[in-house]
Symmetry: C2
Subunit: 148 residues, 2 copies
């Protein structure tokens, strides 16, 4: 009976809830939602992308990406441009405002990281990260893998 393990999972779940709330709240302050911000984030890391690529990256239906991009276009954060070689596809790219906003979020995230982990003893931080990595490995195995 892994009582300690259950306690660890409980804490992880609570972090999940709190963190999710905080992120959603911060994004909402800028008129964004989590899925839309996730799309922007991917754009920042991978440059202009087709909606198909975005759908695969976000793990959602292409149809849904259409809706998300619609919203972001309305908000003036991204643009839809024709793909240079494939006339079926559209390329989603930042507007200046979009690029500026997502950079702001990057800074905000770094600040949050500082607030959460800033004063931790280095060895404790290192241990936390190591534990997290191990859990992450198992989680990834669970998600994509078979049952034990």
């Amino acid at each position: 009976m892994p009582a300690a393990a259950v306690g660890a999972l409980d804490r992880l779940l609570e972090v999940t809830v709190l963190l999710g709330r905080d992120m959603a709240e911060g994004l909402a302050a800028h008129g964004l939602t989590v899925p839309r911000a996730t799309l922007l984030w991917h754009l920042r890391e991978h440059g202009p992308s087709t909606q198909r690529a975005l759908a695969d990256a976000l793990g959602v239906t292409p149809r849904n990406v259409t809706g998300l991009v619609d919203g972001l276009v309305d908000g003036g954060l991204v643009t839809r441009e024709p793909h240079p070689t494939d006339r079926r596809a559209t390329l989603v790219s930042f507007t200046d405002r979009g690029a500026r906003l997502v950079d702001e979020f990057g800074a905000g995230q770094a600040e949050l990281a500082g607030q959460l982990f800033g004063g931790l003893a280095p060895e404790r931080l290192e241990c936390l990260v190591a534990g997290l990595d191990e859990v992450l490995d198992r989680l990834r195995a669970l998600v994509s893998g078979v049952a034990s």
Copy 2:
């Protein structure tokens, strides 16, 4: 520049995503959604509750609780009964099936905890939990508190 802190946050966020996906998936297999399961979970820990209490506990509008309970009633997992002393209120209680299902989830969660943390070295687990607790404290302060 807390590069290590940013890395830690990244891992935490990835755990959040993966864990959330896994939970949602497992719940969907039993015909449930995350918010409805959360409601059941609260019921298990606090016994029959008024919808108002549920709204406060889940952090959502009373109106929304009405919808969630509607769904659970349709699914035969909970019942609405009149409150013994306050005729405005309704008490939400488990049906047998609901109680059985939520117990199953409890077992499933313990199993998941075992899979995620089972083989970890005890000292590493302890350190992980300690780090998590510290982060949780700061998170709670951030969420409910003021800006620094």
